[in-house]
Structures are given as structure tokens and as C-alpha cells.
């Protein structure tokens, strides 16, 4: 990937900021998401809650299904590839996907290596639970980061934990003296240049979204107040009673995340949220995949 292509790919993530990226499984859902104000959609055969329920090996989606969603909407379309499965990524690039999510929601294809994302022209977003993971993914060519959270649970606790940890670690790097950065790079297991960037700029070199467990407008606003630049909502929308209304409310909650009066209105009469599972009840921690 040329330097220029990487800049263009980081720039697309900048254009998604302040927005909501919604998981959809059909062209009809994609249209509902677009009409509700999604800034992009994630096309996949099963949303994380159903992947969790079904068990078994979960793979990238049928390209034909993804293309039917590309044809249905004008906003960017993303799709997931398994961690380390660079051929699934090649297939997604061949159908001109706008963003690839190298995702722990699917079964990992490689237990050591992530995809060498620098070999692709299309952009990648990757999950991270802490600053080290985020910078390792960026070093591999990711042009956008999201918290891992815990997908398909409707439980926000892990996304909160990951965002807080990342922010705390960024704060720690910023407070270090220049000559302490070498050691920090060693501890985080990342290149010195990326540590230097975070130290100098007080932020990641790419856009950082929240993902994994967002089910309500309040969840979305919580993540924004904690410093997320936008949110992914997976199972939270189409597993709820009134997807249209909930989707539109989450979009507005991300725009006006600092206005409790507006948030109160947006949280009213939404119908039942997705049922959700608490973290103690989970059998499989997807966030532990690919570190």
C-alpha cells in the first residue's frame, strides 16, 4: 500500500466520525439503517448475537450477499474477514468493499499473525482492548481502530473498560519524558515511531470508534463522552423491538452526546432493548481473540 493510499484510507475514517456504523444482514435492513442515519453499514450474514448463539466456525459472508447490500445503499459498506485470513480479505477487496473489519467476531483463521494490511489498497479497521493492541494493528496497516468490547452481548462494560484503558495509557505516554519513550515502546511491543506520535499528539494516529455491546442511545453517548469518535452498533439494533426508532435515536445520541435533555427524549418510548447477556454469563470471550 502506498503512503498516499494509506492517507486516503485514514481520511475515509475521518469522514465517518461522529457517526454510527450499523450491522445489517439484508438489503432491507441496510436501507432501514441508511434511512435512520447510519454513516456506513457492516454487511454480514449473522449479527454477533446470533453468531454467539449458533456457535461453530464463523466465516466471512457470501460476496453475493455483500454485493446486494452495496447495491441497496449509497453510504460506505464494510464487511468482516477472519483475523489472519488474508484470502477472505482479498475477496472483499475484489468486490470493492469500502472497509474491511479484521474481526474477532468471526473465528480466527490464524492464532499468531494478523493480516498484513499494508499489502491491500482497501482500508482496514481492527479491534483493540488497549493501546498496545491498537498500535500493533496500526503498524500492520490498519487505518481505523475500534474497541473490541464484547460483541453480541448488549453489555457495555467491556467497551468501557477498553476505552478507559486506552485513554489511560495514552495519558501515561504523554506524561513521559522523551528519553523514556524507548522503554515504553518495548513494553507496549510496538515501534518507537508510533509511541512518539502518541506522545506528541496526545491521540492515536487514526480514528478510534467504540464497538461491542452498545444497545441504547445512552450507551452510545457514554462511549462518546469517554472519547470515542463514533460508534459501531451490531446486534443492538436489529435484536430490539423497534429497530427503526432505536437506530435513529442512537444516531442522534451520537451527535448530541453531551446534552442530557436531548438524550432523555431520545431514550423515551423505544420499546424493548435487546435482552443481552452479562459478562459473567458468557461462555466465549471474543475480545481475547487476536492480541
Amino acid at each position: 500500500m502506498s503512503e498516499n493510499r494509506y492517507e486516503l484510507n485514514k481520511a475515509l475514517a475521518q469522514m465517518l466520525k461522529g457517526g454510527v456504523i450499523m450491522d445489517v444482514t439484508t438489503p432491507e435492513q441496510a436501507k432501514i439503517a441508511q434511512e435512520a442515519g447510519a454513516c456506513a453499514v457492516m454487511a454480514l450474514e449473522r449479527i454477533p448475537a446470533d453468531i454467539r448463539a449458533a456457535g461453530g466456525v464463523s466465516r466471512t459472508s457470501d460476496p453475493k450477499m455483500i454485493q446486494s447490500i452495496q447495491d441497496a445503499v449509497s453510504i460506505p459498506v464494510m464487511a468482516k474477514a477472519r483475523i489472519g485470513h488474508f484470502v477472505e480479505a482479498q475477496i472483499l477487496e475484489a468486490i470493492e468493499i469500502d472497509y474491511i473489519d479484521e474481526s474477532e467476531v468471526l473465528s480466527p483463521a490464524d492464532d499468531v499473525y494478523h493480516i498484513d494490511k499494508t499489502r491491500f489498497k482497501v482500508p482496514f479497521v481492527c479491534g483493540a482492548k488497549d493501546l498496545g493492541e491498537a498500535l500493533r494493528r496500526i503498524n500492520e496497516g490498519a487505518s481505523m481502530i475500534r474497541t473490541k468490547g464484547e460483541p453480541g452481548t448488549g453489555d457495555i462494560v467491556q467497551a468501557v473498560r477498553h476505552m478507559r484503558k486506552m485513554n489511560r495509557q495514552i495519558g501515561e505516554l504523554v506524561s513521559l519524558q522523551e528519553n523514556e519513550l524507548f522503554h515504553a515502546a518495548k513494553e507496549l511491543q510496538v515501534p518507537f515511531e508510533l509511541v512518539q506520535y502518541v506522545h506528541d499528539n496526545k491521540r492515536l494516529p487514526v480514528v478510534n470508534f467504540a464497538a461491542g455491546g452498545i444497545a441504547t442511545p445512552a450507551d452510545a453517548a457514554l462511549m462518546m463522552q469517554l472519547g470515542a469518535e463514533g460508534v459501531f452498533v451490531g446486534s443492538g439494533i436489529f435484536k430490539s423491538k423497534n429497530p427503526q426508532k432505536r437506530a435513529a435515536s442512537i444516531v442522534k445520541a451520537v451527535t448530541n452526546y453531551n446534552d442530557p435533555k436531548i438524550l432523555a427524549e431520545l431514550s423515551s418510548d423505544l420499546g424493548e432493548a435487546m435482552v443481552g447477556i452479562n459478562e459473567q454469563e458468557i461462555q466465549l470471550l471474543m475480545a481475547e481473540r487476536g492480541i
Binding site: 465517518l16 466520525k17 457517526g19 435513529a248 451520537v254 451527535t255
Partner: protein, 193 residues
């Protein structure tokens, strides 16, 4: 001098950074009460036009901003902002403010693989880096519109009265000359008869 930046979704923060660098005060527009102050210009940033178009209406921002623009408030519109200003979209039945008599094609260069950057001359400004992200272009303009730049024979920048419409993203490059030009329009807007 104070400039309002539509901050419903997209790259509004980058515009605020440019204005700060040039010593100009700005504020974010997210809800109706944000408009209870005087301002000399408006920026419509890049992002998704479908999101901004919808939120403008649902947050009751559309009508007050529309009237301001029609009455001559200087506007800098980049990428999706250009779509909001266009009087007609060639591949979409929606239109938004429709205050600029131009026809715009959405996602005109295709998906993200079609995104690109070049350096080109912009009239009244000079050579600047132009970054196109899933960008639109202007298919045609009425005579009253001044074409400011073309890339591969496609119009990518135009001015109509005090409205500056760009298909590209000056807010994410190192160059600040486009913002400087916009600020000069805000200082001396053309009177609307």
C-alpha cells in the same frame, strides 16, 4: 469574526483546527440553540450527506440555516457539504438546501478504491493539494456560477455569490489557502439583491 461549523457528523473538527490556525473563532452547530448567536460564515463539512440531511431537518436546523444562506451568509461546503448545497443531484432524487444552481453527481468516482489526491490550480487561490474521498463532482453549472477548478475535465470547485462548493477536502491537508480565501469572503461578502 466567528464561523459556525455544522457538527452533526463527519470531519468538522478538522475545519475547526484550520480556523484556529488562522486565528478565527468558530463554534459547533449541533442543535437549534447553537444558532442563538451572530456569525459571519458557515462551514458544511465532509461526511455522509444522507446523515446530515436527515439530522438537519429532525433537529430543526434546516429552515434557519437555509434562510441565512439564501440571504447571503458565506458558506464553505466540502464534499457532502457540496451535495447539501446543490440544486440538483443527478443520481439521487433528494435535494437539501438547493441554494447553488449546480448539478452534482454523488459518489461520482465510485467506492473507496476510487478515492485519490492530486495537485491542481484553483482560480483566485493558486495550486493546492486536492483530496477526494468517495467524492462527488459537479456535472454542470448555470451561467451565474463561477467555475474555480477542474480535474480531468470535471468541475470540482465553484463559487456562486457567497457560496463556495468543493468536491474535495481542504481541511485534511497541510495547506490553508482555501480556508484563507473563504475567510476573505466572510470579511467582504457580496451583497445579495
Amino acid at each position: 469574526m466567528k464561523i459556525g461549523i455544522l457538527a452533526l457528523q463527519g470531519a468538522f473538527w478538522e475545519h475547526a483546527g484550520k480556523l484556529k490556525e488562522l486565528g478565527v473563532e468558530s463554534f459547533e452547530i449541533r442543535k437549534k440553540t447553537d444558532l442563538q448567536q451572530s456569525y459571519d460564515g458557515l462551514i458544511l463539512p465532509g461526511g455522509e450527506s444522507t446523515v446530515m440531511g436527515k439530522l438537519l431537518k429532525e433537529l430543526d436546523l434546516f429552515q434557519p440555516l437555509y434562510e441565512k444562506i439564501k440571504d447571503g451568509l458565506p458558506v464553505l461546503a466540502t464534499c457532502s457539504g457540496l451535495i447539501l448545497l446543490a440544486s440538483e443531484l443527478s443520481n439521487d432524487s433528494n435535494s437539501y438546501f438547493a441554494t447553488m444552481p449546480i448539478k452534482v453527481r454523488r459518489n461520482a468516482y465510485g467506492r473507496q478504491l476510487g478515492s485519490f489526491s492530486v495537485s491542481a490550480d484553483v482560480k483566485n487561490i493558486g495550486k493546492v493539494p486536492l483530496v477526494f474521498i468517495r467524492a462527488p463532482y459537479i456535472e454542470s453549472v448555470e451561467n451565474s456560477v463561477e467555475v474555480l477548478a477542474t480535474v480531468n475535465d470535471r468541475i470540482v470547485a465553484a463559487r456562486y455569490q457567497n457560496q463556495l462548493g468543493l468536491a474535495f477536502h481542504p481541511e485534511i491537508t497541510q495547506d490553508s489557502s482555501i480556508h484563507r480565501y473563504f475567510i476573505s469572503i466572510c470579511k467582504n461578502p457580496v451583497p445579495i439583491i
